[in-house]
């Protein structure tokens, strides 16, 4: 599904390398988790994959189902099936949640040559999915994320994901700032989407989330690279011992 090969990224404005040869392969139907200390480049990876400005790719590639993501506009990547649940979703005063989501759903459908959803069908679908995520339908009438709590923003990101039905889902610390109940709701939302044709890349600091969303593979990222990959046990190890040992191990190799 997603093949990242030796990806090098620096900041556009400064000579600061952030991703330094990152390689990662995510197969359809699997869930990969990425853990790693703050500042190791996890969000940068998510942003670069989704096409945010401000970064310069200095080497490597990132293919989504055989298509080079790095050559596409952000909206093309979305239409190709990529989705990023933001670590820090932005507030956009004046743009209604519903209007925006409907525009997005229909833009993607159009880009894929599918028929646009009527407003009736769209409303019905959003209401049903919002209910599952315990999102107040009234809230959706408000401008994007204005007056939303941290947890509400994250749940709404999952609602968008559910509506857009992407094939490659990246969740950047979606669990941060969620209480136990909200985390359960979000995890259920994610698990409901798991199927053979879809893959997930879950960036998190906490084993907690991985109790709900069982990963197939766990990666540890540091200094802009994957330094270790393993099974779900690797997450437990990090939870117990922190990153220190892993980083030291990596240091010896270098």
């Amino acid at each position: 599904m997603l093949e990242i090969n030796d990806l090098h990224v620096k900041l556009e404005e400064e000579d600061k390398a952030i991703l330094k040869g990152l390689t990662l392969s995510v197969k359809a139907g699997t869930v990969h988790a990425i853990m790693g200390p703050n500042g190791s480049g996890k969000s940068t990876l998510a942003y670069v994959l989704s096409g945010r400005g401000g970064y310069q790719v200095t080497g490597g590639s990132a293919m989504l189902e055989g298509q080079e993501l790095l050559d596409m506009e952000p909206e093309e990547r979305a239409a190709a099936g990529l989705f990023l649940a933001f670590q820090y979703p932005v507030e956009i005063p004046g743009v209604g949640n519903m209007t925006f989501l409907r525009t997005a759903v229909n833009a993607q459908r159009k880009a894929r040559g599918e028929e646009e959803l009527s407003s009736g069908d769209f409303l019905k679908a959003v209401r049903a999915k919002a209910r599952e995520l315990k999102i107040d339908a009234e809230m959706l009438k408000r401008p994007v994320y204005v007056g939303f709590s941290g947890g509400e923003k994250k749940r709404n990101e999952i609602l968008q994901m559910t509506m857009l039905e992407p094939r490659m889902c990246i969740l950047d610390e979606t669990d941060s700032g969620l209480d136990v109940d909200a985390m359960k709701l979000v995890s259920e939302g994610v698990n409901a989407l798991r199927d053979a044709g879809r893959a997930f890349l879950v960036i998190t600091h906490y084993q907690r989330l991985l109790d709900h969303i069982q990963p197939d593979v766990v990666h540890i990222m540091a200094e802009g690279r994957i330094i270790k990959s393993g099974g779900p046990d690797l997450a437990l190890e990090v939870e117990q011992n922190g990153y220190a040992d892993l980083l030291a191990e990596e240091g010896q190799k270098a």
């Binding site: 945010r52 400005g53 909206e75 979305a78 989705f83 932005v90 956009i92 005063p93 997005a104 880009a111």
Partner: protein, 439 residues
């Protein structure tokens, strides 16, 4: 011996201005009326001879060149016909009053009798010895010469060829719609309207249409105690035109005003509003959304005078500028000593779509009362890159994402339109404008 020309003294400059004005006036053919209108015109001419016409170096015209507006004749401009969308307000049930090339067009207009309204054409009212409008025509304009002269309004009082006088005596739901049609390339339209909303009465005034190659519209309105005037106008799309409008409004106790203007393109366009909150508890909102593309120059100049306690005023002006368009805002809130507990708000913002476009703003507060709440702000910004990226990351194409953000930017101004159907109509104009680019 000849050296560098001596700089003119103030007095000499004033004398030169008045001479030029007198010469200008002598070449105009002032409409001849007997009775009260004739007297009002004569008074206006007299005023104009002492005010003089505006000049570029006047502080009040610092950002906008008045020469096109005050020139003796209007440069012809191509007649613009809208064929790609229904004309604004067409779906609204309204009393239509049509002016074609600046003249009342009876055939195209509805019957002017309506419940709760008294509508008279200016030319007809002038025949009457006594008419309620004689206490207003030219009078508010005259009051509006302080603290800054507005001679183009005075010129209008003298020269207006037509106009409509409307008195609202009850709560009237059906809007009165002034439609400015245009046929001649050189049409130079000068209209003067007078409105009186009696105590407790309410009405809605709409204005739209390509109007003329050049136009000057003065509207003088008095809103009685507890009365309400809604005003929504669009100045659209025909790019070659130039124009100036003056809205003078005197408000009594607990009177309300909501005025909104949508301007899309226009070579030189200045909208002036002068509002007097004379009675306690009045509320005046003046708002505008302007969208300029290319050689567009749009100026909103607003003055709100709080003379009585417990009044509220709100100015919300938003401009979207691209391809070198220029937006101007001059807005002032004056709070006089008796106007305690004033709540004044003023915001003027521009969204610059490129580096060539510019926004010039002069927000002012002048406060003499001590217990007031006043705020003002003026900003110039671009589309927020993080916002745009967020929208695009969900699959919204860049152009569509920008449009959503432009509409979002204008929302605060649009919210000043009280009626949903009118707001929706205006919003759809904005949307179609966003889909069109002149370059």
């Amino acid at each position: 011996m000849s050296g560098a020309p001596k700089p003119m003294t103030r007095a000499a400059r004033r004398a030169a201005r008045l001479d030029a004005t007198a010469a200008h006036l002598s070449r105009l053919s002032v409409p001849q009326d007997s009775g009260w209108l004739g007297r009002a015109r004569a008074d206006a001419l007299e005023r104009l001879r002492t005010l003089g016409l505006p000049e570029r170096r006047d502080e009040y015209w610092r950002f906008t060149d008045p020469s096109v507006l005050s020139a003796e004749t209007a440069a012809p401009a191509e007649v613009f016909r809208i064929t790609d969308e229904p004309v604004v307000f067409s779906d609204i049930d309204r009393l239509r009053i049509v002016f074609t090339d600046g003249e009342f067009d009876q055939q195209a207009s509805d019957d002017l009798t309506a419940e709760g309204l008294e509508v008279t054409r200016l030319a007809e009212a002038a025949q009457a010895d006594i008419h309620w409008a004689q206490d207003v025509y030219g009078k508010l304009e005259e009051r509006g010469q302080q603290p800054v002269p507005r001679p183009l309004a005075t010129l209008n009082s003298a020269m207006a060829r037509d106009g409509v006088l409307i008195r609202a005596t009850g709560k009237v739901a059906r809007p009165v719609s002034l439609i400015y049609r245009r046929q001649k390339e050189a049409a130079d339209m000068v209209l003067h309207h007078v409105i009186r909303v009696e105590p407790g009465a309410e009405m809605t005034l709409l204005e739209n249409g390509p109007a003329a190659a050049r136009y000057s519209i003065v509207t003088e309105a008095c809103i009685g105690a507890g009365g309400m005037l809604h005003h929504v106008r669009t100045q659209g799309r025909d790019h070659a035109r130039s124009g100036i409008t003056h809205l003078f409004v005197r408000m009594d106790k607990a009177a309300g005003l909501k005025s909104f203007t949508l301007s899309a393109n226009g070579r030189v366009l200045r909208n002036e509003a002068m509002i007097w909150l004379d009675g306690e508890g009045g509320s005046a909102h003046v708002a505008g959304a302007a969208m300029g593309d290319g050689d567009f120059h749009h100026d909103d100049t607003v003055f709100i005078d709080h003379a009585a306690p417990r009044c509220e005023s709100r100015q919300v002006f938003k401009k979207v500028l691209r391809n070198g368009a220029v937006g101007v805002f001059q807005g002032k809130i004056l709070v006089q000593r008796p106007a305690q507990l004033t709540d004044g708000y003023q915001i003027s913002q521009s969204l610059l779509m490129d580096e060539r476009s510019q926004f010039l703003a002069k927000p002012e507060l002048e406060i003499y009362a001590d217990d007031v709440k006043c705020s003002h702000g003026s900003t110039s910004g671009e589309i927020d890159a993080d916002h745009l990226f967020y929208l695009r990351s969900r699959g919204v194409p860049e152009a569509e994402g920008k449009n959503l953000l432009v509409l979002a930017f204008l929302t605060e101004a649009l919210e000043e339109i009280a009626r949903d159907d009118l707001a929706e109509d205006v919003r759809s104009r904005l949307e179609s404008w966003l889909g069109r680019h002149r370059h």
